[in-house]
Symmetry: C2
Subunit: 343 residues, 2 copies
DNA sequence: TTGAAAGCGCTACCAG
DNA sequence: CTGGTAGCGCTTTCAA
């Protein structure tokens, strides 16, 4: 029943009260007598009135919305990011705006435009220019996710280095492997850049020469398959182990290897990063690094919401979330005694 | 330079003109003398003024935003949907709001709330109740994606039945296979429901008994791995072919099969649906059905934007986009002569 | 061509 | 406790 295009004034007239009273009732603010409240609620109910968001937002000087900016989302990692963000935004009655800057040249402008429509923005590292980020930060609270921001823009990221160092050292020392390759494009994101650096660092620490270059591919499963094509084609000696920038790539490499009849880990060791659900389930189960992907954006949303409430209106308090090395079968470790999920 | 918290009034004062003139200049509407325009632009430039979105939206009675509602996004299919939607929204200067109703019980309320913040909404089929959908449609244009809406709410969907019928018939007739199983949950989405129905239909058409029940799992790769565990554990006779509700499941089944040392397609035939990038690249390449995922949402966005402009304010014009059977190696068809991408 | 003023729908202050 | 009223920032008549 009832058109939702009713306004406070109409409801006020119908209930025979003032707009102020209608507002008080519909917001639960202030003191209203039982009699008045009943009359107003009746009119609201009868006509299906719900306050218009724009009017409310304009009066409050607040959008009730948060923005999330991606490079060009793909795969489970990004969907996890979105869900983590949402999990915090929704309970605070904030809607989520998303923007994929992709390859568009006007990315900076679009991010700035977004800044005009939301109460705060979380930006995935490496997505927009530092200049745009700083400018954006003058209008709303900004948090960088999976990367570091310029100036004192706070960030929320995972401890890439620690676990990648441990993982590489594990392969090098515990499994005594040499000729490892790294698959992923360090120029593509701060995350991969840190992982590649830690991969090399582990080699250096042990006095071993790391490969000079990574196999630079994107982060999707298809890219892993392509990398496998390149690494396992037989033209060059096969590496002993393939350290991948994320699980998707690793799964692609795994499929590529298995499809060629190679045995993993006997003929080839493969590792991933992220610990996505499929990692524990494939055969052989994937050795990887667990990072709290949803927490990244959930934490960022909290930071932003807190800042949006406060006078200063600037987010603060960078944090680095812990990661965890998850050893499973694909690196050559023995299969766990039961079940085999590796958890 | 310049705080972007300037208002029309301040700029007007600084430029020594009226707010109306500032508005005209910043929108490029109406006639303004060269002299005035220059003065205003100078002030705008100097103070970095950009009109506030809320004020503008309230005056225009339009949000400049579109909403996209998902069940609980995961995987490449959903990211494609988002990108397709964005590709149409961004050029129209509309921001994209997203909402994952997930398992939340208040999904209907949230969708209705979204309806108050945007100019139109696209809802993935099977996400919210018909009742909520109808109510939503009274406030803004609504389009259902990958499913059918109640009443005369328009929808944009892919031709699931046609290609699934052709695919199943291909396995049954051309490859003379029996004992096919279907992996996917028909209750999970209209898409899967249609695919399962067509899978059964193809059997009936040929006088063959289809399996009574599908292997009901979700749509992610991990679920495919689980399905493989169940189907290939050896407790029951192995099926001849596994027809999967999407490529992700199929890839999971493929990994599960290869990890067990089975040969595909010799020992087991596997097919998918979607034709995601990895499908063409894995070994063996995946036989699947190509559907224009991005087009689905792009088309929906166009429908909504058009409707939002018009007086009636109701979207109209359902459409069914064509799909295409893509035969590759995993169903037993010979490998293509060159390259091997199957395209 | 320009400006004054009337809203858009809502909240919140200030009197009564 | 209640109602009038002044905005929030912008666009858009309507006169001048």
């Amino acid at each position: 029943m009832g058109n939702s295009r009713m306004t406070v004034r109409e409801i006020a007239k119908l209930a025979g009260v003032s707009v102020a009273t209608v507002s008080r009732v519909s917001n639960g603010t202030g003191q209203v007598s039982e009699e008045m409240r009943r009359r107003v609620l009746e009119a609201i109910e009868k006509h299906g009135y719900r306050p218009d968001h724009l009017g409310r937002a304009l009066a409050a000087g607040r959008h009730g919305a948060l923005g999330l900016v991606f490079p060009g989302l793909s795969g489970p990692y990004f969907t996890e990011l979105i869900q983590g963000f949402e999990s915090e935004a929704v309970p605070s009655r904030a809607s989520v705006h998303i923007l994929c800057t992709h390859l568009r040249s006007d990315a900076d402008d679009q991010v700035l435009e977004m800044g005009r429509r939301v109460d705060g923005v979380a930006v995935i590292g490496g997505t927009v220019s530092d200049e745009a980020l700083l400018r954006l930060a003058t209008m709303v609270p900004v948090v960088v996710i999976a990367g570091e921001g310029p100036g004192d823009i706070p960030s929320v990221r995972a401890d890439n280095a620690g676990s990648m160092l441990a993982l590489t050292r594990h392969l090098l020392v515990d499994h005594d492997l040499r000729d490892l390759v790294f698959v992923g494009n360090p120029a593509g994101s701060p995350d991969v850049s840190e992982r590649w650096a830690a991969f090399r660092g582990a080699h250096h620490d042990l006095g071993i020469d790391p490969p000079a270059e990574p196999v630079a591919v994107s982060m999707q499963q298809a890219d892993g398959v392509l990398a496998a094509d390149q690494l396992l084609c037989g033209d060059t000696p096969r590496p002993a182990g393939v350290v991948c920038a994320n699980d998707e790539i690793a799964l692609g490499v795994l499929v590529g290897a298995l499809g060629r009849g190679l045995r993993v880990p006997q003929d080839l060791v493969i590792t991933g990063f992220d610990d996505m659900p499929a990692a524990a389930l494939v055969t052989p189960a994937l050795t990887t690094v667990r990072q709290p992907v949803r927490e990244l954006t959930a934490e960022a949303a909290r930071l932003i919401l807190r800042a949006a409430d406060q006078p200063g209106n600037t987010a603060a308090g960078s944090l680095v979330l812990p990661t965890e090395l998850v050893l499973r079968r694909s690196c050559g470790c023995p299969a766990p005694p039961t079940g085999g999920t590796g958890r």
